[in-house]
């Protein structure tokens, strides 16, 4: 599913990633962890195609992101869900509209969009909150809207960057339960987190990053 070969990424003089080699198989659940500034966000952004590597290669489902065309990347993103730490919800749109956006860009029929959006909101426990605006929701609920938006398109890959960074421990557990259920439906999940408590009780594969390098794996 995801293959990285000798990937380097620098921002001017700052090296964010150094010789990263990685393979994530289809259907895997992987944690990427490390201290702040270790390169977790950069790694996810590279996998999402939001950044290009300074050198090295990245393959997603066999597609080389170094050579990908703009349109191809847009189409690939329709199959990849991304959950951001800051949710990236539109405050002027309702919960329903925020989630529906992910399907509307693909030109689906309105009836299909309505059906799928309701299903996704129900799956994250937000049924009945369709017409509410994001700022009227708690942090945990906003994150669930963001997850619903990421999974509504039935992605083959779900990337989450510090998805519980702004949440209390109880909500963190709820979100993690959601990710596991998404994973069980067959989606490959990669979660970047620096929250050690998330990793303590898990048997999931965990990749340790430090100063832009993979320093270990569990």
């Amino acid at each position: 599913m995801i293959q990285l070969f000798h990937v380097y990424k620098s921002f001017d003089a700052n090296v964010a990633l150094k010789d990263v080699n990685l393979k994530v198989r289809e259907g895997e659940f992987v944690f990427v962890t490390g201290p702040s500034g270790a390169g977790k966000t950069t790694l996810l952004r590279l996998i999402f195609g939001a950044e290009k590597p300074t050198s090295g290669y990245i393959l997603i489902s066999g597609i080389n992101l170094n050579r990908i065309r703009r349109l191809q990347l847009d189409l690939l993103r329709r199959k990849v869900g991304f959950v951001f730490q800051d949710f990236k919800l539109l405050p002027s749109k309702t919960v329903f509209e925020n989630v529906a956006l992910a399907l509307e860009v693909s030109g689906h029929k309105p009836s299909f969009v309505r059906k799928k959006t309701r299903q996704a909101l129900k799956a994250v426990g937000l049924a009945g909150k369709e017409e509410v605006y994001p700022l009227q929701l708690s942090g945990g609920e906003q994150q669930r809207v963001a997850i619903a938006r990421a999974v509504v398109k039935d992605p083959i890959l779900l990337l989450a960057d510090e998805p519980t960074g702004n949440l209390d421990p109880e909500l963190t557990q709820e979100i993690m339960v959601l990710f596991r259920s998404i994973h069980l439906s067959g989606t490959t999940v990669v979660v970047a987190t620096h929250a050690r408590e998330l990793l303590e009780d898990t048997a999931q594969r965990t990749i340790f990053l430090e100063k832009g390098q993979v320093v270990g794996e569990k």
């Binding site: 703009r70 690939l76 993103r77 329709r78 992910a102 509307e104 860009v105 693909s106 938006r149």
Partner: protein, 297 residues
Amino acid sequence: MKIRLLVYFFRQAIQSLVRNGMVHAVGLGTMVVSLLIFGSFLLLFVNLSDWVEGWGENLTMSVYLEDGLDEKMKQAIMRHIQGLEGASVKEYISKERALEHLRAALGERSDLLESLSRNPLPASIEVIIRRHNPRRTDPAAIVKGIAALPGVSDVQYSEEWVNRFRNILEVVRLTGFIIGGLLGAGVIFIVTNTIKLGLYARQDEIEILKLVGATDWFVKIPFLMEGILQGLLSGFLANAILFVGYLILAARKTFFLGVAPIHFTFIPFDYALVILAVSAILGLIGSFIALGRFFNL
């Protein structure tokens, strides 16, 4: 393109117009004023051109006679004139009548004429030549023929004036094109900035759209539609205001240079459509430029 996508884009464009109402209102107002200036030029040109052409349809001529001409010679001149194709003698103005006309024209200042020892005005024959085919009529040749007749001192004809006005019209047309071009550039500038403000206002939304897999065109089309709508709306308003202006002018009897009354007509329907189309195209160009500068997500 799928109809539901078009409906989606159109809805987005309308939402954006409403959401940035104030910015659009200012832009719209400026565009309407620009288009109105151009439209006014067009209206002026169309009416002046109609007026000049209408005036030139019939060639009018004043044939001035030498003093002391006997009746026989006068009749001979009249016969010659009436023998010309389409020509008719409108009236004979004797020296006395010419003086009366002048006295009437001078009004309160007619006492100036009392100091004259003799009547200096010549008698004249007013001639109208109806031109069924203006191109086949050579006014200069006719004038030359009449002027050569014995007893004729001078011939003046309207064609000279018509030609002068035609030259003025050319200047009006050229000025209109230059002003139109400059205003067109201004309109593009206004639309570019209005759309750009809309783009900045929706920067977060655009970013999220791109993150969930929207193609560039999916994001761009509503903005292009917004530009077209803004152009169409301003074109429509400019036409409407121009029409009201025309109604006000048409209700008054206007003389141009005190010569002949102008019967105002509105710009032809296809010209109004051209204004509408041009404003829509300018709107489209403006949003294209704005998107081109903005889009590098």
